[in-house]
């Protein structure tokens, strides 16, 4: 059995027939070939699969593709490219907020959401806000710095 869904991904309309047990992250990676969204765990803990759904950060491994029917999804590929980086992408590079890069797309998507939905971010509140994303390389310090830097840019 498959179910027809229609949604917007990175500003483009997408329609597909998907099996009802297809996870949104698998739909994004396998059907749409948007491989910037990663899978780092199987318990909704690591946040590598974070995307935006109707303007909010969600873990795309914890949602079925059919539940995204009619929604607007934005992935890491939809926020900026090399010639036109999102301020958060630029800040991650500027502040050395990434090493192996595997958690980075999810981290950036969470961080954008954090900035969009918070006032007066502090070092501590950024750390608290990124608690749902695990990074094994950076020790988080430069990620926090990147979010602080991007927040100023995004608010300006």
């Amino acid at each position: 059995m498959s179910i027809a869904i229609a949604l917007t991904v990175n500003g483009k309309p997408v329609s597909a027939e998907v099996s009802p047990d297809t996870l949104l992250v698998d739909f994004i990676r396998d059907n749409l070939n948007l491989t910037g969204t990663h899978v780092g765990c199987d318990t909704s803990q690591c946040g590598a699969c974070t995307v935006h759904l109707d303007g909010n950060a969600i873990k795309s491994c914890t949602m079925l593709a059919v539940q995204a029917d009619g929604s607007k999804v934005v992935t890491i590929e939809g926020i900026g490219d090399r010639d036109n980086l999102h301020p958060m992408q630029a800040a991650f590079r500027q502040c050395h907020g990434l090493q192996c890069g595997f958690c980075t797309p999810g981290m950036i998507m969470s961080a954008i959401d954090l900035v969009n939905h918070s006032d007066d971010l502090t070092n501590a509140s950024i750390r608290k806000g990124l608690e749902g994303n695990i990074c094994r390389c950076t020790g988080y310090q430069n990620i926090v710095k990147a979010v602080e830097t991007a927040a100023k840019e995004m608010e300006a």
Partner: protein, 786 residues
């Protein structure tokens, strides 16, 4: 010609970042080959059992199944076992013992998660569904998980291995050390458990095996820190293919920390299976599989003793360790608790007598191998805990007891009693700087302030040393290594003057595409954007040994420096010809080859062009400007430093907050301080994670209790403050770059600093990692009850 600004020593932003921040990275699971099948492994649910039979009938009929291959077919194909690359001898001269490590278990399983069949199907879900239909008839056998218990158990896990002991290794002078202990004024001792860890690189392991029947060519895409080593193991040892017929590609790799050094069963089986069905075979681990089967780290039970004179001078160190190596010896397993551990026990100190004995014990747990630091964190932990305990027992200041025993700058080169010769260092410089940054002189006031608020405050030191840049091939050969540990580098100057750099080192977060480009760009005086670094593909770079043991810059970077020397040497000949003078009259001053004391010159680009368009060219010189170098180091490098941790504990909850963490490291010359700081931050979080959060736990049946992110406590952003990091510098004396390596220091130096701080706060001498709130609360409750 204007001079290009140099980049070495500067905070150059990373070249590799653009693709990674835009989602355009290419990790193994992002790659799909036409007509690929999907693999899923049937794994043992039991920690130890005989396999009485495997019934594939139902599974083979499951939808989408292409084939199911077992250990029996693998054995019939004559594939070899997975090797351990380091032969360690026991104290009595006998060779270490090890069970054969089959790619797929055939007649017996020895840990939970051990693979015994590979299911191949048209989709991952179909492979998974079919795997559940494979019926295995197990005969359950008694299980051992704790090495200390396994060492004295009546249960023998392998017929050929009495006492479950792989080897009993020793280093140092036993008699002399024992004698010191007989007459010492003071002896401090402790029993510690260095907790077992699960590496948890964020990218799970993955592989795609591919085979072209027409050419008999094999390709393996995999999550490896060392694709060339993988090629060697798969060809020379497992013998799937001849070495010249296998290409191993390790594309973007999402972290390694040691766990992606080894060639595991799954990657091997994917390559073999691809040749059996003549279709690509793709496998990506679930995180649950990573927990079960990635090589684990640490797991040492150690009894340590330090002998001191009345004035606090270290006279002898005696260490007895039981190391858990898991069910099989993984690739580096035997080297980690021996040559990467015992040799570091002198630390930064002039302790004249050191003796260490290690029993390496098999258990029914996942294989244990190198994890960030690999042996050196274990050495640092026992030593720095003992030193701290000695200071407290003798009522000496912990910085003073260290200072009193430091090897002094004038003592280098310094031969330790445990085999290594340190080339250079200045330990007092890093201690002084760390104490200044940590504002140690005001600590008492801060402690009083905490006390006034009902909190407990503590300060802990750790002065670590490590051996990096592994390793001189001759030395490791004498120690039993099965391979050489050189590195290879190639510098290809293109006809237009841009440069392609190829390295056998592998970057999976370390930033080689930037630092290696900095080194080469500066040598030639060209823009860093005109240098491209290629790594991770045996089809593009033919030789290499890969990245581990903080070796890439010291060994791989030095190879590139040597290759650059050769480019310049050839350029001098070409320039001399073009400028009509003798070679002796030419000098290279980046970016020009110029006639000495003259303005006549040729640019680097002009020389490159002449080499490939040799219309006007020396008769006796080959065209082209591409040079390769192999670099074999003369010695290890010895990064060292001082870490100071300050904690505050809430006695009501046992929750510890790290108030301040200061790290001062001496990594020798620095190519890119931004990247170095990032490496330190990451290492610190892994080390502090071991000290406070992370713990791998098996139950008595060998079931992994800490098998998910809900059970294994990963360090998260809100567990830490910002760290204060700084550097001191003594340049390495024996490599051309003067560099030492920075990848592991944070994880090596930090655990004892944390525990020393927590025990200081609690007013106790001993406690084991991880120092969880519950454990601390129990200690405080017991104290209150007294």
């Amino acid at each position: 010609m204007s001079e290009q600004e140099t980049t070495v020593g500067k905070r150059v932003l990373r070249k590799e970042d653009f693709r990674l921040i835009t989602g355009e990275g290419s990790y193994t699971d992002d790659i799909n080959l036409p007509n690929q099948t999907y693999a899923y492994f049937v794994r043992s649910p039991m920690a130890r059992a005989g396999i009485k039979g495997i019934d594939l009938r139902k599974a083979l009929q499951s939808e989408g199944v292409v084939d199911i291959l077992t250990g029996q077919q693998l054995a019939e194909d004559g594939l070899g076992a997975l090797p351990c690359g380091w032969m360690v001898l026991s104290a009595d001269g006998s060779e270490m013992k090890q069970p054969a490590h089959p790619v797929l278990a055939n007649d017996k399983v020895n840990y939970v998660g051990e693979p015994l069949a590979i299911v191949l199907a048209e989709s991952k879900r179909q492979a998974k569904d079919a795997a559940e239909l494979v019926e295995v008839d197990y005969e359950e056998l008694p299980v051992l998980t704790n090495a200390r218990e396994a060492a004295v158990s009546d249960i023998q896990l392998y017929d050929e291995i009495p006492g479950n002991r792989s080897f009993n290794w020793e280093l140092g002078e036993k008699e002399a050390t024992d004698k010191v202990f007989e007459s010492a004024d003071h002896i401090v001792s402790m029993d510690i458990y260095n907790n077992r860890l699960i590496p948890n690189a964020m990218e799970p392991r993955a592989a795609i095996g591919d085979y072209s029947r027409g050419n008999q060519d094999y390709t393996l895409y995999t999550t490896s820190q060392n694709p060339h080593v993988a090629r060697l193991v798969l060809t020379a040892f497992v013998q799937i293919a001849p070495e010249h017929k296998l290409r191993v590609i390790a594309p973007d790799v999402g972290g390694g920390f040691g766990s992606k050094i080894y060639v595991y069963s799954e990657e091997t089986a994917c390559l073999w299976a691809a040749s059996k069905i003549a279709r690509p075979v793709k496998w990506t681990a679930d995180r649950s599989e990573s927990f079960l089967t990635d090589a684990h780290g640490r797991d040492h039970h150690t009894h340590g003793e330090l002998a001191l004179s009345a004035d606090g001078t270290f006279e002898g160190l005696r260490i007895k360790t039981i190391a858990n190596v898991g069910a099989y010896l993984s690739l580096f397993a035997s080297a980690v608790p021996t040559y990467l551990y015992g040799t570091l026990l002198a630390g930064q100190y002039k302790t004249p007598n050191v003796y260490v004995e290690v029993d390496s014990i098999f258990t029914n747990t996942a294989p244990v191998d190198a994890y960030r630091g690999a042996g050196r964190p274990e050495a640092t932990y026992i030593l720095e805990r003992l030193v701290e305990k000695a200071a407290r027992s003798l009522s000496m200041d912990p910085s003073e007891i260290r200072r009193k025993n430091f090897i002094q700058p004038e003592d280098f080169p310094y031969q330790t009693p445990v085999a290594l010769e340190y080339d250079i260092g200045n330990y007092e410089a890093s201690l002084d700087r760390a104490m200044e940054m940590a504002a140690v002189s005001d600590f008492d006031a801060r402690r009083a302030d905490s006390q006034a608020r009902g909190k407990l405050r503590g300060l802990g030191y750790s002065c670590y040393i490590e051996a990096c840049g592994i390793a001189p091939s001759k030395m490791v050969g004498e120690l039993g290594a099965g391979v050489g540990l050189w590195e290879s580098g190639e510098v290809r100057v293109n006809a237009t003057g841009s440069v392609t750099v190829l390295t056998g080192a592998h970057s999976h977060g370390q930033g080689h595409e930037t630092t290696f480009a900095q080194i080469v760009a500066d040598r030639f005086g060209i823009d860093i954007d005109d240098v491209e670094v290629v790594h991770g593909d045996t089809g593009r770079m033919d030789m290499g040994m890969g990245t581990y043991g903080s070796r890439s810059l010291a060994v791989g970077g030095s190879a590139l420096d040597r290759a650059s020397d050769k480019i310049i040497a050839k350029g001098l000949k070409i320039a001399a010809h073009l400028l009509g003078v003798s070679e002796e009259e030419i000098e290279f001053k980046a970016p020009e080859f110029k006639v000495k004391n003259s303005n006549a010159a040729k640019t680097f680009q002009e020389i490159a062009f002449a080499a490939y368009v040799p219309h006007d060219y020396p008769d006796d010189l080959e065209p082209g400007l591409a040079e390769k170098a192999f670099y074999d180091p003369q010695n290890f490098t010895y990064p060292a430093g001082c870490y100071i941790c300050e904690v505050e504990i809430d006695p009501a909850t046992g929750v510890t907050s790290i108030e301040k963490f200061t790290a001062v490291d001496d990594f020798g010359k620095i190519i890119n301080p931004m990247i170095v700081e990032g490496q330190v931050h990451g290492g610190l979080v892994q080390g502090i994670g071991q000290a406070m959060l992370e713990n791998c736990v098996y139950d008595e049946n060998g079931q992994l209790l800490s098998g998910s992110y809900m059970d294994y406590c990963m360090p998260r952003a809100d567990d830490f403050p910002n760290f204060d990091v700084d550097l001191t510098e003594t340049a390495c004396t024996h490599n051309p770059l003067g560099v030492k390596g920075c990848g592991e220091a944070g994880a090596i130096g930090s655990p004892p600093a944390v525990i020393n701080a927590i025990t200081d706060a609690l007013g106790i001498l001993d406690m084991d990692m991880p120092a969880t709130p519950y454990k601390i609360w129990q200690i405080i409750s017991a104290q209150e009850g007294q």
